[in-house]
Every structure is written in C-alpha cells, then in structure tokens.
C-alpha cells in the first residue's frame, strides 16, 4: 500500500514539472524589431510592416507575457516560435467582452466592425444598442463565452480579458478551437493617460492610417489633461476626498498606487490612502474608513447610490460625515442606464481629460468656470 502511494505521489509531482519550465522571451533586436511604443502593460515593436505586441500581464497574477504578431493581410509573417497569436491586419470583424473595449473602438470610428459582445445590456452607447437591435451585434455569452456561437459567427478576433487562471483556461480552450483571442489588460494600468494609450493597441489591428489617427487623438487628449493638471498643481488648498461604499462590514477603497488615486492626485486632492502601495483595492474595516472619512470634504463614487437619502437610510451614522453634511457627495453615474451601463467605463477610458476636468470641477470649482460636469453628478 505504501508503495502505491509513493508511485502516485511521484506521478503527481512529475506531472507538475512541465509547468515549471521557464518561458523564453523574444529577442526583439535579433529578430529585427525596434521598440515603437510602450506603456506599463503593453509594448509595440515594429519591423517594417510587421508589429509585435507584448502583453506583460495577460491576467493580473500572470508571470509570463503574451505576444501577438500583426502582419499585413496577404503577406507572410516572420516565423517566431514564442508568438501567441498571429493576426493579419486590417482585421475584418471583432467581438469584445468589455465596455472599455467599446470606448476605444468608438473613438476610432470602427463600431461597425463589432459583431459580438458580452453582456450587451451593459453598453451605454446608443449606436451600440441600435446595432444590437438590428442584429449586427450578437451576444457571445456573459459568465462563460459561448464557444459555439463564436465559432458560428466566424469572428476574426475576440478581444477579451482574463482575471485569473480560471478565465485564462477558458481563453486557452477557445484558442484551441481556432478562435483568435487577444487579451486586453488596460485595467491594470495605473496611470489614466497610459490607460488611454491602449487606443494605439486597438488601432494597430486596423492598419497604419488608424494608428496615426489614434496618435493624433492621444496627443490632443494628453495635452488637455496635462494643462488641467498643471493649472491645479499651483493651487494651495487641497481638499480631502473619500471614496467607495461599504458592503457587509468591509469597505473597499482604491489603493495608493491605483489609477483612481492618480486621478485624485492629479486633480489636486488629498487621498487618505495615497501612501499605500496597493494597485487594486484595499478591503478595510468600515470603522477604519469612517475615521478618515469624518473630515473629508468630498465623497466620490459611493457605490451605486443615487441619493444621499439612500445612503443615510442604510447607514444613519454616515450623516455625520462632513461631505454628507456639506452636501458634497458625487457619483459617476451621471451618464448611466438602469441596466447598469455607465459611460464612465466606456468613453471614460479614452477621455481621461474629461474625468479629470470633472474632478477638478468638484474639488476646485473656481478653476474651470465654463465647464459642466460630464460623468459625475451631485447626489
């Protein structure tokens, strides 16, 4: 009996060995590629008309990158073994799995290339909804992708994201059946401007012209963002800002290294958790948050609450918070629908300047007297 146990144990350990092989990374120079652009999460390398995209983290805890090779349709692509997906550009159709993807695609004017989407009811854009109604866009599955519908639709590329090993395994299974899947990890960017730069990523799939267009777009957005940030940096007073909403005794707030914290900093506000290192959210005890929140001048993004009354009904003690007393509670659901669709997550990704302007309008109303709130509203 001990013998069979030893055999099984060794089989088990042996089966894990393949998992431990280190990944070989691509020697771009040797292959003749030059670095074209990069953010924290993706890099573009170019060799004549071929492009290589490196995705550093296909899913948040991944330790290996993925590589997509884009080559002009009708030509041959250089053969490089570590490439994850080879895709000819311009692509002919796409399916998306997040509203943020739509934000990028819409900014490029390529909405009609979308033939499939996950959870279509979450999309704010009227153009999207009308394409959905006319049957141009098909639902491709929400909790799981519907492999069969994707195969049947003949979609050229599926833009998806993976949050963990489980969803990554699903992507692997889709790829095995011949569907080209590209992973988008814009949500891992901690800088709002870098997040917007994923516009180039999407543009690349449609050719040079779109790439140039995206660069012009980004230059303009970038400038507007930096101008506002510059103006704010001279202001002496920085108000304190609280964010989030508790759920069952746990209050998640964005970490100090998150893009939300970056927004607060760029908008000239003091964020109590700015010094923390977390890139994601921090699960804190409600009391800990309230201690900081008591004297916060503003309260941003109180979950999905639509009015201060809703808040005080649930938590009578929150009426004590300075932001509540001074009626300075703002939600980013100004452009939203009852289904849960929220333009903040669509257009917002490519218009960080609008978000920044909103926040500055809230924190320092005197600075931009002519503009109105876009994504945010007072509740």
């Amino acid at each position: 009996m001990r013998k069979s146990l030893v055999i099984i144990l060794s089989c088990f350990i042996l089966s894990l060995l393949p998992a431990c092989t280190p990944q070989k990374s691509i020697d771009f120079e040797a292959e003749g590629f030059e670095k074209y652009h990069h953010t924290d999460e993706f890099s573009i390398y170019q060799k004549e008309e071929e492009y290589l995209i490196e995705i550093s983290h296909p899913f948040p805890t991944a330790t290996r990158a993925e590589y997509y090779q884009l080559f002009p349709a009708g030509q041959n692509a250089t053969s490089i073994p570590e490439i994850t997906q080879q895709i000819a550009y311009p692509i002919t159709s796409m399916a998306i799995s997040s509203t943020t993807h739509y934000g990028y695609v819409e900014a490029l004017g390529l909405v009609d290339f979308i033939i499939g989407a996950s959870s279509p009811q979450l999309f704010y854009s009227d153009r999207f909804q009308s394409n959905l109604d006319s049957g141009m866009i098909n639902p491709i599955g929400s909790t799981h992708f519907n492999k069969e519908i994707l195969i049947k639709s003949n979609v050229n590329v599926l833009f998806s994201y993976a949050l963990d090993q489980a969803s990554f395994d699903e992507i692997a299974s889709l790829r095995e059946s011949g569907i080209k899947v590209v992973l988008v990890s814009e949500f891992l960017e901690t800088d709002p401007l870098k997040k917007a730069e994923w516009l180039k990523f999407f543009a690349l799939f449609f050719g040079e012209e779109k790439l140039k267009r995206s660069e012009a777009y980004l230059t303009s957005i970038g400038k507007q963002y930096r101008d506002i940030k510059e103006a704010v940096s001279h202001l002496p007073n920085k108000p304190k800002v609280l964010m989030g909403y508790p759920w069952k005794g746990v209050w998640h707030v964005s970490g100090g290294a998150s893009y939300q914290a970056q927004f607060f900093e760029d908008a000239g506000a003091i964020y109590p958790w700015a010094e923390t290192k977390a890139v994601g959210s921090l699960p804190l005890d409600v009391e800990v948050v309230l201690v900081e929140g008591l004297d916060c001048d503003f309260w941003i993004n109180p979950g999905n609450k639509q009015s201060v009354d809703q808040i005080t009904e649930e938590h009578a003690d929150f009426a004590q918070l300075k932001a509540v007393r001074k009626q300075q509670v703002y939600s980013n659901y100004a452009r939203s629908k009852p289904s849960g669709a929220n333009d903040y997550w669509e257009r917002g990704v490519v218009r960080p300047d609008l978000i920044l302007a909103d926040l500055v309008n809230i924190f320092h109303p005197q600075l931009l007297p002519d503009s109105a709130l876009y994504f945010y509203k007072k509740i």
């Binding site: 805890t61 330790t63 492999k147 519908i149 003949n154 949050l163 963990d164 969803s167 299974s173 994601g280």
Partner: protein, 338 residues
C-alpha cells in the same frame, strides 16, 4: 439469472450510446444530424460545423460520460465502505480540498500575496488540494480502528477546508468571488483533448482498481468484523477504496468543478434496477448508468434555456432529488438498503 442481467446491461449500453449521440446534437448552435454523421464517417463538412463538433460537442459529451462513470463508482465505494446510504464521492472532504486549492489560486493571490505560476492549470490546484486531503485520510486509515470514526474525521476535514474557503471569500473582491462561485457551479465544457485523455486514463485506472477489489467490497457488506473473519485485509481494502475514490472524485472536481448528487443517486438506482449487491456487476453498471444520467443532465442544461447552458450542478440536483425521494418511498428500510 446471468442472461437477464446481460440483456439489461446491453439495453443500458444502447441507451448510453443513443444519449451520447443526442448530447452531440444539443448545444447553442443548430447542428444537423447530417453534419454529425458526415463528421463521424470522416466525410468533409462545413469548417464551422467541424470546429463546433470537434472542439465543443465531443469534448462535452465525453466529459459527461467520464465524469458520470467516475462519480458513480466513487459513490458506490463510499456507500459500501461506510455502509451509509447517504455517502457519496465527496463525503470525505475530497472536493472541499479541491475547492480549497482552487480558492487559494483564485482568491488567495491577494490574501497570501502569491502569484500564480502561469502554466499551473486550475486543475493542478484543485487536484493538489484534493490530494492533500486524500493523503491525510490514507495515513489515518491505518491508525483508526473504527470505520465510522474515519468517516466523521473525513467529514470534519471537509468542513475545515470549507471554513477556510469562507475566509478567503470574505477578503476577496467581486471578480474573484464570482470566478470561484462559477467554478463551484460545475462545468462539463471546455476540456482540451489532452486533459480529456488524462482524465479518462485516471478514471479507468481507478475504476479498474475498484473492480479488482469487488470481492473485498462485497464482503464489507457484512460489516468489517465478518469481513475480517473470512480473511479480508481490512486495512488494505480501506486504503484502496479511499485511494480509488480520491482519484475519481479528485480528478472530476479538478477538471469540472464539484458535481453533486450523481455519486449518491446512481449506486442506489443501479442496485434497485438490477437487484444485486455484487460489486463485480455494480461497478460496470454504475459506470454506464452514471454516464447516462450525466448525459441526460447535460442535454437538459442546454435544452431548457435557449442559447445558454444552465450550470450542471443545478440540473443534477433537480434530477437527483426526486430520484432520491422516489427511492426512499419505495424502500422499506433505507438503513439496510444494501
């Protein structure tokens, strides 16, 4: 007597085959019987139909077959070992162990600050968790005299694993939670062929192990004391039936998440329909019946709602509960059911 059993098994096998074909035809996309036969005969068919059959339908149907067989044989052994009609493949906490492995992988990254190894599949984490529990149980099985004590310890270990999962869940965010919940609803989809072959290999091995132990398993029906008095090595049969169950339940859970009810219901059904307690018959019968039931569940899961598949665990529960009640009502004393 033998021919009657033989005919019934043949009928069962035919039913299995028919359901397999039916399952191949069920799915989100319309598939014609013509296309299916072309595929089976090696004739050329539409590229998309090929992809759908080859990468979606066949893996799904095979998975249902293998998992159904595995869970039923595992449940049978547990019912015999503990002489408990409510025992099933998960009673010793093996699936809780698998769940803990998965929970650590999906939700523990934040809690423990570990990064997942890229190629560690979910299955490895699940099987690792199940294996740890299995190891503990096997080592204990040598030391513990009374098999009921072993049962209770197994249940307690499972409860500890579940409690730890609860803690991880509490500290995870929406996405992680949802991911774990979805995993625990079970899914027969999306297994690649190499995973499928590995699963089939392990399951066949473990079922063979059980089959070769038929005599000892039969003797356990008289209770361990009598079994010992006719020469059965109790430690050995405990070891191998727990090992076999661990391999079966662990593998199924690793690749498909926990799938409930099948392991408890199918052995009872098999005993009832074939009126036998002889494991050398019951094991093959359970394998076929298990495949049948899970294929039915899979067909229903795709059929009940247009275009989507309902989670397999809900269907097995909806199927299993009426069957259990029917069995309970038609038997005189469930405690002595076998």
């Amino acid at each position: 007597m033998y021919t009657r059993k033989g005919i019934r098994i043949l009928l069962l096998a035919v039913l299995l085959f028919l359901l397999f074909i039916l399952d191949l035809l069920t799915g989100a996309v319309e598939l014609s019987i013509g296309s299916l036969f072309d595929y089976l005969l090696g004739e050329p068919i539409d590229q998309r139909d090929f992809l759908i059959i080859h990468y979606s339908r066949f893996p799904k149907a095979f998975t249902a077959l293998i998992c159904g067989a595995a869970l039923s044989v595992a449940g049978l052994q547990m019912q015999t070992l503990f002489r408990n009609p409510l025992a099933g493949p998960y009673i010793l906490g093996i699936s809780s162990g698998a769940g803990l492995g998965v929970a650590i992988l999906l939700m523990g990254a934040g809690f423990f600050g570990i990064s997942a190894l890229y190629s560690w599949s979910l299955a490895a984490a699940a099987f690792g968790g199940a294996f740890v529990i299995l190891l503990i149980l096997l080592l204990l099985s040598f030391r513990i005299k009374d098999v009921m004590t072993l049962l209770i310890i197994g249940i307690m270990i499972g409860a500890v694993a579940t409690a730890m999962i609860g803690i991880l869940q509490y500290f995870s965010n929406d996405f992680q939670l949802k991911s774990f919940v979805i995993w625990s609803l079970g899914s027969l989809d999306s297994l690649s062929y190499d995973k499928l072959f590995l699963m089939m290999g392990v399951v066949l091995l473990a079922c063979l192990m059980a089959f070769l132990n038929s005599k000892s398993l039969n003797s356990l029906l008289m209770g361990e004391r009598y079994a010992k008095s006719i020469g059965v090595d109790i430690n050995r049969i405990r070891f191998y039936s727990i090992l076999s169950t661990g391999l079966l339940a662990g593998t199924v859970t690793a690749y498909c998440g926990p799938i409930g009810f099948i392991g408890v219901v199918v052995p009872h059904l098999s005993r009832m329909i074939f009126q036998t307690t002889d494991h050398s018959w019951l094991i093959p019968i359970c394998m076929i019946s298990g495949g049948i039931i899970l294929l039915v569940a899979d067909i229903l899961s795709h059929w009940l709602v247009e275009q989507t598949a309902l989670p397999i665990n809900s269907i097995t529960a909806l199927l299993g509960i009426p069957i259990i009640i029917w069995i309970l009502l038609s038997k005189k004393r469930i405690s002595n059911s076998f």
